[in-house]
């Protein structure tokens, strides 16, 4: 995996509070290959957005990276000074946030915001940058871009604004985009358009995407690989097809069971009993054990590390035996 574009090793994000330090992201590792779309899925509070914020270096204080490292093209970026990291943001790692209505400064024309970003990162003249801004707007599907470039954000609808945000994220040709719930705030009818757009643009620009969402459907449709997060840890990570169709971790199985399938037999949707523990009360052993239908004694004591099972990595003691057997047979 030395060719990875982004590599996250044993990342830990903590929030010091008066009731003790909360570990919101606890020892997670994963990597993203160039041009790859990695979906990160989980319930709210699972730590997926914080992982994204940690990567672009914009954790809000008092949140901080307590351990681990983040490497971009083999270079460590989690300990860079602010100014160094700033040059990476936008230029090498773009970002798309959840709410397009609040992501744009209401007092500036959208064109000015794009031009400003382009000129921060690329040695272009005002006129060249403007030309590029118009091209970008066109590319993200805004009609009569030459005219719309001089409009203010409030003159765009929500879906159109998210397109502008995407143009802003792409405008310096970054190698990676961290998209944090890019469709959650949008109308259902527009969500599919935006997802298709992100997918197409990233394929054309060979940009890798870390797509953070709680919507398994979006992941199944878009991602190459998927990481399932639970209570700050990765439960399972692997190729999207395998995870969706042949989930290994009981939590992932529960998630998949909760998605209605079209044309499937009319059966009740499965649901996971209980809810994700609060960060103040994560149980010892596997964080999922109180809700897990297959939990046994060891799950309540030891924390499982991700182990390879077939094409995926699963953090679950159920597969320890399988691996041991494999080792014997192999």
């Amino acid at each position: 995996m030395s060719s990875a574009l982004l590599e996250v090793r044993n990342l830990r994000v903590e929030f010091p509070t008066r009731r003790g330090t909360l570990r919101a992201v606890d020892d997670i590792s994963f990597s993203i290959a160039p041009g790859e779309v990695l979906g990160v899925v989980g319930e709210s509070g699972a730590g997926k957005s914080l992982t994204g914020a940690a990567i672009i270096g914009l954790l809000e204080p008092p949140g901080r990276i307590a351990a681990g490292e983040i490497l971009l093209e083999g270079r460590r970026i989690d300990n860079l000074p602010y100014e160094e990291l700033r040059k990476i943001r936008g230029r090498q790692i773009g970002a798309i946030f959840q709410d397009p209505l609040t992501s744009l400064n209401p007092l500036y024309r959208v064109g000015d915001q794009i031009i400003e970003t382009i000129r921060t990162h690329l040695p272009l003249s005002e006129a060249q940058a403007r030309k590029r801004a118009i091209d970008l707007l066109q590319e993200v599907g805004i009609s009569s871009a030459a005219e719309r470039v001089d409009h203010y954000p409030h003159q765009f609808s929500g879906g159109m604004r998210q397109r502008v945000v995407i143009a802003l994220a792409l405008c310096a040709e970054p190698r990676l985009i961290v998209a944090d719930e890019p469709t959650t705030a949008l109308d259902v009818s527009i969500q599919a358009q935006i997802i298709t757009l992100i997918k197409r643009l990233c394929r054309e620009h060979k940009t890798a995407v870390m797509l953070v969402t709680h919507d398994m459907g979006v992941i199944a449709e878009t991602a190459d690989r998927v990481a399932v997060m639970y209570a700050g840890r990765i439960a399972e990570i692997g190729p999207v097809r395998d995870v969706v169709q042949n989930a290994k971790h009981p939590y992932t199985q529960g998630l998949m069971g909760a998605i209605p399938s079209i044309g499937g037999a009319e059966e009740r949707l499965a649901q996971i009993e209980g809810s994700m523990p609060r960060l103040t009360a994560i149980p010892p052993g596997c964080a999922f054990n109180p809700r897990c239908p297959k939990a046994f004694d060891r799950c309540r004591v030891d924390r499982p590390e991700p182990i390879p099972v077939g094409t995926t990595q699963v953090a679950c003691w159920l597969y320890e035996d399988a691996r041991a057997k494999e080792a014997v047979h192999g």
């Binding site: 672009i56 914009l58 602010y82 700033r86 040059k87 990476i88 943001r89 936008g90 230029r91 773009g94 970002a95 946030f97 709410d99 609040t102 992501s103 744009l104 400064n105 209401p106 007092l107 500036y108 400003e116 970003t117 921060t120 990162h121 005219e147 719309r148 001089d150 409009h151 203010y152 409030h154 003159q155 765009f156 609808s157 879906g159 159109m160 945000v165 802003l168 994220a169 310096a172």
Partner: protein, 330 residues
Amino acid sequence: MIAYVLRRLIQSMLVMLTVAFVAFSLFSFVGDPVANMAGEDASQRDRDQLRRDLGLADPFPLRFVRFVGGVLQGEFGFSYRNLQPVARLIVDRLPATVELAVSATALALLVGVPMGVYCGLNRSSALAQAIQAVSLVGISLPTFVTGILLILTFSVGLGWLPPFGRGDTVRIGWWQTGLLSVSGIKSLLLPSVTLAMFQMALVMRLVRSEMMEVLRKDFIKFARARGLTSRAVNFGHALRNTLVPVITITGLQFGSAVAFAIVTETVFQWPGLGLLFVQAVAYVDIPVMATYLVLISFFFVVINLVVDLLYYAIDPRLRDGGPGGTGKGR
């Protein structure tokens, strides 16, 4: 645009009419001008004659119309206290107050706004916390206490600056200015610092909290994620967005500078409108009070109007269909 201005103008006129009505009611129901003007030994017949001459025997609406007409022509009646035309008194006193209020407001803004911006940006720095602490003292010190302490120090103690009066004034047309003589400037120093102190602290605190508010916004986070320089984020994006509240503050500040000038003028025996008003309140000198009321409200209405129009210039969201605006696209 024109409709908006027109609507605001009509609103302002309504407010002015209301204030004029209150002022007129003061005239009509509080105290008896005839008793005041005719003197103790006038006969009942003389009094009735005077009442008719003054038009006080006419019905209420007619008198109100006449009052408004008089105000529009700058006729405000006679002071009960010294029987001079109120308009004369006002014209004599106006320049002193304007010079005091303008210099104090300028001082408050020139010092308060940069300090507020600094404290908003570097909230946890030692200097910012020191400024914040001092500002709390600043808003807790009553204006007259500040004035007294300054007089004790610079006039009684050090003997550098005069403790009262305006110094030498120069007449330009009807305007008596103290700004053209050394003693005039020296006399202005203590009162304007006194008046500015409270405003300065208030401006600083308001700008600081506005700045902090804006810095929490999503578009600031997104601007950072785009890799814009700190300078561009803080001064281009954050400061511009605090401009609207800062303008409001400026308007209000100028207003309250005029109001608190009442106190400052009393401390320094500054011969302005405020001192005139305090004397009028003490003597229940209704015409002077009513005139001051009308004048001050006119002044406030104008300030509010200007502030509203400035919003309009700054915030594109208020301008329906801005440059080439086709409204909301979908």
